[in-house]
Symmetry: D2
């Protein structure tokens, strides 16, 4: 085969990236006999000559052990790059297939690359492999790394619970990933069953007043003398002034830190009321997203990569490998980036969370 | 509430049993205010007075930590017991709801208990919670403990692979659970991607001859100098004489040990041929089934128990809590024990296994 | 036996607390037949009536599973309490032996209790079991939980390394425990071998100037494009003004947060210089100290508890169970609180760290 | 540097082998600038041309991830090889330093190589790095992999205990490594505290009679209804006939399987007596020895390798890197192979085991 393949990983870390890279290489090499496989370093930056990131010629031996740790063997970066320059590089390198592992922003970039490729009438297949630790890509039932993420969160919350119950009126406040969707927080709470409050972006709440969070928290402490709170990073953004909304280099809104904010407000309230308490704030995001994939996610990554290779080598382009109704699917890139998947508060998942935590249906004042 | 509840665990160990027990107790106590919860010891034996197994009065405090290890807090046993005596005990103890956690045999027993309860016109609800580490109960998409089982198998196979590759022409032979269905073996192979042969009950194979397993194994060793074989305990039973089929106390056929058999046949063949080799046989079943549930299984156990409690307290009886199409279901007991779920060799799962292992579609001679 | 025993845990969490509690109870009950064992809740607060913390009557069944998670089953608190009131409570409760599990401050309290007990001519044995996750108690070779702490730190640093190497000029900055002694940071660095800078309280350093840390860090990034920094919480305190030294309720100096400080200074420097970089700050202390003990620490906790029970029941008092030269020892309380154990920068340990990290012997300007 | 280095691993697997290989390569390359490092494959076989095992030219990149799994990257083999041929190979390859990682047999081989090297007046340094999972090399306080081994055994025994307590009169019988010394069994029992019998090679016992093991076991079951037995593989060899003593290819006596033997004898006895029981036999040796090293062993491996490199490059030869009194040492090879380290039954370790298990001091009839 004369096929030459590029692999690029973009955006934040997610458990399973190395499994996907390894499985792509193994599948290309052992099943299809393709040995010219280039690892593009540091995301789309690696396709822009001025960054001077050399490509890595990937072999099966080189990637044999990489899935035993987390992170990405290829490095990553955020943000858009000049599409014409990227396609120039693909042309110069003679790349026929480009596997883009990333989320929304990455896929928008991949789609732009595809359009430029079409314009130039090149034969370069652009394949997206969806990566979202938050499990929030629309029309995709589950994404790799998500189960690993809430499983590690489960263990960390167990330790947080030890901190909470180890002190009189002890509070443990754990911030988890979840910019727009609270799936990690919700699933971790369902698995550990020691969480008393799950705060997610999908549901607004008040801090003060009759029904407000601080009053409910105080009541919980008076009854049981400890409390565990899990807050998704995107929760409570309504507490911050809109004027401050800056965007980061990927075009995402820079979220204010709800974890620090809540810690400060809880402390302030209980100090003012002379209510004895102790609070421990835990922000494990960088530990979770950089961990290796668990066995079930590893399986999923392997199958995802195999399906991606089959589809790309059958000539398809501008698509994403999806998963829906327990089946792998092929989806046009444009379709999956249209909107985000969110927790439906009328659905069983959220009712299970309410039952597991015992938190009120609403912490909004009327 | 005057409701009095019994909980009984039957059959072999499975990761998550303690999570189910704990969640039943917590749900009954914290949501429904039921504090009279009896743990029946050592399976159905605990309902037969002559065994002298005292019941345990379960409290939330008592079960608070039990899910942190595997096994069953209540003990278990195999085999049928006298149905009339069991119902006598339920009557004497004033039990209104009996949660039976077990597999096929347990459910047949539960259904008999239910029939006797009906005959006596008693008000005792009989609820089944399906436990099958092999994931082989029909009409139930996934059972608790199964993911934990293949995840631990994944780690053990990684070590086995180290044994194989650590010796010239090294062979690691791992026997896994799977009496009638090879799901654990298949899923473990898909997650670890280091297995060269998966032998399951659903597919017969020859040892000798042109296409036979021993010849394919030798070829693999000649090419790569090590091999990893995973065999489900129910595979290759056709090699043993039918006359020997005894049944154990649960009514299951006592399977001949295919692991030992294969190890002997491989050794014999390669000794005879003067082919240098080294073989390590690993039988981790007791280590796997007695381990604690992972986070995803814990979540599943919690939801299973909560659904069971809701259904039982709404007056339903003679049913099993199922899971189908990612939804919890209620199934008549008789329906789920009718037949077993098996790997469909025409299905994607098995094709993925063939791709991951590189083993031939058939190892049967024409 | 008419002996009545009290157990109290004080100060911050440490892996192994529950193992010690469990082993004390098991040893007292199974070896010495003592069944009157009281768990004092929330540290010395539990001996002061006005706090209203009820004691727990401990049984072997109750503590059977507690070592499977971290934290302390009894709760803890910091700070001194009124010695006369505590001894009043010991008298009223008829306690004959008090096991105090804690660090320096706890032992000073225990010694005061002993003096008051002597003054009143009571027969109450006061036994100290040393707890210091930092491994910094003088004359004690190793303390329980320390190995677990640096082992978990090892895993977290591996993930941090994935964050660092996953970005161009990526920096991962991990703050670990170590108020006065950098043993956890040093040992974690030796086990993982991916750390480039270990900053400990024993060695001062400059940020700026020819030899300063920021310049060395920049050089490392220019050469290898990623860097992992581990800083003990007590390092670099000289950067903060002495006037700010407040003491917390245990009498410890409240340390300024060197982690946040370093993160800010690194960011400021590289922003100003227009040097591309990315920094991830990780503070895992609450996750580490609340984790369960590993196998080797569990063994150590068991032996520590057994030795403590033997010594207490042989009539000894006002002592601490130590460990020196691979042997358990009995030390007068006053002796072990006299000064702290610290890293000797002339010793092999520190030379090994310099070799493992490649960091300069000194980052002080002349 | 023109130095050329060879690394060879011999004998059975042990956690930490890959850490030692990786640290040797890193230390040689990064500290001493040596880039000609050859991995000899499959033990001493790799030095005999007729086996056709190619050497591997090792680089830092190649070994970067290998410590994340167990086994040996280089492969191993047992048994002696022709010394003259091995030295011929070393000469032809221009090797100046040979690192031999292995146990007694390996060191005897290394010493023979050294003598032949001396005879030929060659300049080849022979360095031994002691590997014994049993921790039984004389004059060496602790060996790498040993702590990992008993730590994994601890977890497996916890699961075995779940099997035992999950059945009425349930027995779990776990066979662990320990040919001549029972250190793994003893230390695992001290860490888990759920073992009722530790059977080691150092102490003979009777099966039958008043004081015999089977009677004591039955008594334990009658009282507590479950029992956990840990047996080192070298225990009870006196039950087998001496005439059967064959030696394996390494010159070790082939031990009869005491695990199977005990399982059969226990079953026979209780069947005969009509005593209800259930027994689960677990033999996890291949899973334990092929696992990756834990953090403390990783640290130890790193320091061992660094010390070995320093010593070899300072011109020393025919020595082993030891560890005694918490210090690394250099020992003449001949000294460490003279005799084995064993449990002293008068020592604290064994007394602690008796206390932790509650087993009788002697199970020998008078």
């Amino acid at each position: 085969m004369k096929t030459k393949v590029g692999i690029v990983t973009c955006g934040g870390l997610c458990p399973g990236l190395n499994n996907v890279i390894r499985s792509l290489v193994n599948e290309l090499y052992y099943r299809y006999g393709i040995s010219r496989i280039l690892g593009i370093q540091y995301g789309y930056e690696g396709l822009i000559p001025s960054y001077n990131h050399p490509v890595i010629e990937l072999t099966a031996a080189m990637v044999n052990y990489i899935h035993l740790t987390g992170g990405t063997f290829l490095g990553s970066s955020r943000g858009d790059q000049d599409v014409e320059k990227m396609v120039d590089t693909l042309e110069i390198m003679n790349i026929n297939i480009l596997f883009c592992i990333g989320g929304d922003g990455t896929f928008r970039g991949a789609h732009e690359i595809h359009k430029e490729v079409q314009k130039r009438k090149l034969k370069i297949c652009i394949t997206g492999i969806p990566k979202t630790i938050d499990n929030d890509i629309d029309l995709i039932q589950k994404s790799f790394g998500f189960e690993t993420a809430f499983s590690i969160a489960n263990d960390i919350i167990r330790n947080a619970h030890n901190e909470a119950s180890g002190a009189f009126n002890g509070i443990a406040l754990v911030k988890l990933m979840g910019r727009d969707s609270g799936f990690i927080a919700a699933n971790a709470a369902l698995s550990i069953q020691e969480v008393n409050f799950v705060l997610v972006p999908e549901i607004t709440f008040d801090l003060y007043g009759q029904r407000g969070f601080l009053r409910v928290l105080k009541k919980r402490l008076e009854e049981r003398h400890h409390a565990v709170i899990v807050v998704a990073e995107g929760a409570g953004q309504e507490f911050f002034e809109c004027a401050d909304e800056n965007k980061d280099v990927s075009g995402n809104i820079k979220y204010k830190d709800i974890g620090i904010y809540l810690k400060d407000k809880i402390s302030e309230e209980f100090e003012n009321k002379g209510f004895p308490y102790s609070i421990k704030y835990i922000d494990p995001s960088y530990i979770i997203r950089s961990a290796p994939a668990n066995a079930n996610d590893s399986k999923f990554c392997n199958l995802l990569a195999q399906n991606a290779v089959h589809a790309a080598l059958s000539g398809k382009t501008d698509f994403v490998i999806g998963f829906w109704n327990n089946q792998f699917t092929l989806m046009p890139i444009e379709m999956v980036v249209a909107k985000r998947k969110k927790i439906d508060v009328e659905d069983e998942l959220w009712w299970n969370v309410l039952e597991a935590t015992g938190q009120p249906i609403s912490m909004k004042n009327p």
